[in-house]
Amino acid sequence: MKRVTLVFTLAFAAGFTAQTATAQTLKTVKDRGMLSCGVSQGLPGFSSPDDKGNWTGLDVDVCRAIAAAVLNDPTKVKFVPLSAKDRFTALQSGEIDVLSRNTTWTLSRDTSLGASFTGVTYYDGQGFLVKKSLKVNSALELNSASVCVQTGTTTEQNLADYFKGNNMKYEVIAFASADETVKAYESGRCDVFTSDVSQLYAERLKVANPTEHVVLPEVISKEPLGPMVRHGDDQWFDIVKWTLFAMVGAEELGVTQKNVDEMAKSDKPELKRAFGTDGNLGEQLGLTKDWFARIVKAVGNYGESFERNVGVGSKLQIARGINQLWNKGGIQYAPPIR
């Protein structure tokens, strides 16, 4: 039902509203006093609610950082849980201001959905989860397997490409939500569960005996995951884009949640520019001078957020890998804040 409601909202919005109304997301968010952020329906490490209903995760931190920069309060976020197939409609219809829901950046999504990606929060790739008892060591041994997949994802198409490319047969069973997909995999309906590798680690935590399942070594695709905003509002696009860059930049500059107040007093020119004691970069974005400090105070820098949510210290225990900073062997890179 939710999907039909969303479509009607979209049809209504497209059919009746004048088009100028779309270009004022910043003002809308400020007037509302609340950021509406589209997240997953519960993916540990990226966006999931705890037993008290508090949302945590890497994608959630991006939402909180935007709320901190715009509203000076990281708690002023309304999280809207969306299934993979409903997410774009929710963004198009204006139900959410930003979509931060482990969404893969592709050309067609960037152009035909009326929305744009603002950056990459996590460089991921698609992999396979199988039961250890199958004694499979490589994805190339999966000929004639049954594969469970979540519908409405790039995963579905990569899967078709991979099996076709390697001349293997398979049976695909596509479910609407991640939970149903994992349940079917657990019940033995499928031999394989395929998704982004980070998600495989996260979902493995949910099955009965996580140690009996293994992620195969093959990574069959590029899945750069990032936030999305609607076309037609460049200011809002810049704000979301630079919020993430601020987090990555903060790590590069050595600014952490703990030392942010000391660093704000620093004499270093790049820190002075970032903290707004020199120049007015924040105001150029349509925000305040202390936007950078607000973001770091709220969620810490990118590395801190990564470690807290998905890193080796967290339940998911994922190594930084290519998500390390560019000067430490990874590819996370933020343009200069100047």
Partner: protein, 401 residues
């Protein structure tokens, strides 16, 4: 030679005025035209505005996407389909899967519904209680819950492919579904089918003849020996002459799954079972109400003619009850078709799942796709209604005669 044009009789203009404008006459007609024009204008504005706004936000619109390559696979398809086919093909695959589950669901729902209704009406205490419990239990639980129950409960109980339950080494049941031998056409198939068709047609002709004999001359002709000969004997003869019509490809365990043979996927079974048992509970109540609406005297009249209880029901009561049963029965058929869209919960590739789901999120063209999908369900419902109306009309006519 000229003939004067005949003027329409004055009543004609009057009738037209009534038909178009009702009691208000031509004024009423003008109001209706104006109202229709306003509606059309609003509809036009909405479409034009939507198109302009979608364009300004650079959201793709139009139906061109139907020609693009889908690039994903589907677990069950009645027509040949691969990932390199177009979205149009995906639409057809989904539509056929929806139709398949609806038609089979309607059939079983009707059969189970009638049986349960007859159980409830039975003088046998145990039977009527069982019927009553079935109806109250099944119709009072949410359908989605029942679908998930059938899917997960049945899946959990079945073994993996390597430990399949085997029947005669040809049928295999496991948590990937039921694997059955696949029929392969041989040279003898065509004559066999022709003989079968001839047999069926001839049997129908015989039936019409015997009924006419019964109704017009009161003559009872036993036709079943001839029908048996036509339906079984004739094909058997062609089989001996032309050889076997089909052979079977036996399924074999290969890798993870069975190779060869045909497979009925568990999603389909779970959905069909859930839909037909659920709808059957409602149909049972409708049938019971219909039968009870026929006067007791009819039943008594039947038994006084020496007919058995079953024959009285079949020949006298049910035909009269059908007049009451058919309209609400149509509703249940429509519900079943529409409820089949819950398939997405258990991964059955119906229209909503593959078209309004996967295709929508891949193309992002929500308005077009939802419009098409709604149009399809509307059309299916209207066709079902039309068929049932014709059926209802025929019953009424035959009862009135």
């Amino acid at each position: 030679m000229s003939t004067e044009a005949r003027k329409p009789p004055p009543q004609f203009a009057l009738k037209l005025k009534r038909a178009l404008g009702g009691r208000a006459g031509w004024g009423g007609f003008a109001v209706q035209v104006a109202f229709a024009a306003v509606l059309a204008w609003i509809a036009y504005e909405i479409v034009a505005n939507a198109r302009a706004n979608l364009e300004s936000q650079r959201i793709a619109s139009g139906f061109g996407f139907l020609q693009n390559t889908a690039g994903f696979d589907v677990s069950q398809s009645l027509i040949p389909y691969t990932g390199s086919d177009t979205y149009t093909r995906v639409f057809l695959v989904g539509l056929l899967n929806t139709l398949l589950v609806s038609v089979i669901g309607v059939f079983f729902a009707t059969v189970i519904g009638f049986i349960v209704a007859l159980c409830r009406l039975s003088p046998n205490w145990l039977l009527s209680r069982i019927g009553g419990i079935y109806v109250e239990l099944v119709r009072n639980l949410p359908l989605l819950f029942q679908i998930l129950f059938w899917y997960l409960a049945v899946l959990a109980a079945l073994p993996g492919p390597r430990q399949s339950i085997s029947l005669f080494g040809a049928f295999f049941l496991n948590n990937r579904g039921l694997v059955i031998p696949r029929p392969i056409a041989e040279a003898g198939l065509d004559p066999f089918l022709v003989a079968l068709a001839v047999g069926i047609v001839a049997s129908l002709v015989l039936r019409v003849y015997s009924r006419r004999a019964l109704f017009q001359r009161g003559q009872l002709i036993r036709i079943w020996p001839y029908v048996l000969g036509l339906l079984v004997g004739l094909p058997l003869v062609t089989l001996l002459v032309f050889g076997v019509p089909i052979t079977f490809e036996l399924p074999q365990l290969k890798g993870f799954n069975f190779a060869g043979g045909s497979r009925v996927i568990p999603e389909f079974v779970a959905l069909t079972v859930a839909l037909s048992t659920y709808t059957a509970a409602f149909i049972a109540e409708i049938v019971r109400a219909g039968i009870l609406s026929v006067h007791r005297g009819q039943m008594e009249a039947g038994s006084s003619l020496g007919l058995s209880r079953g024959a009285t029901l079949r020949l006298i009561v049910v035909p009269q009850a059908m007049r009451v049963i058919v309209p609400p029965l149509t509703n249940q058929y429509l519900n079943l078709t529409k409820n089949s869209s819950l398939a997405v919960a258990i991964g059955y590739p119906d229209l909503v799942s593959v078209f309004a789901g996967t295709t929508l999120s891949q193309t992002g063209q929500a308005i077009e796709i939802i419009a098409i999908t709604m149009g399809v369900y509307l059309l299916l419902s209207l066709i079902t209604s039309a068929i049932m109306s014709v059926y209802g009309w025929r019953i009424n006519r035959s009862l009135a005669a």
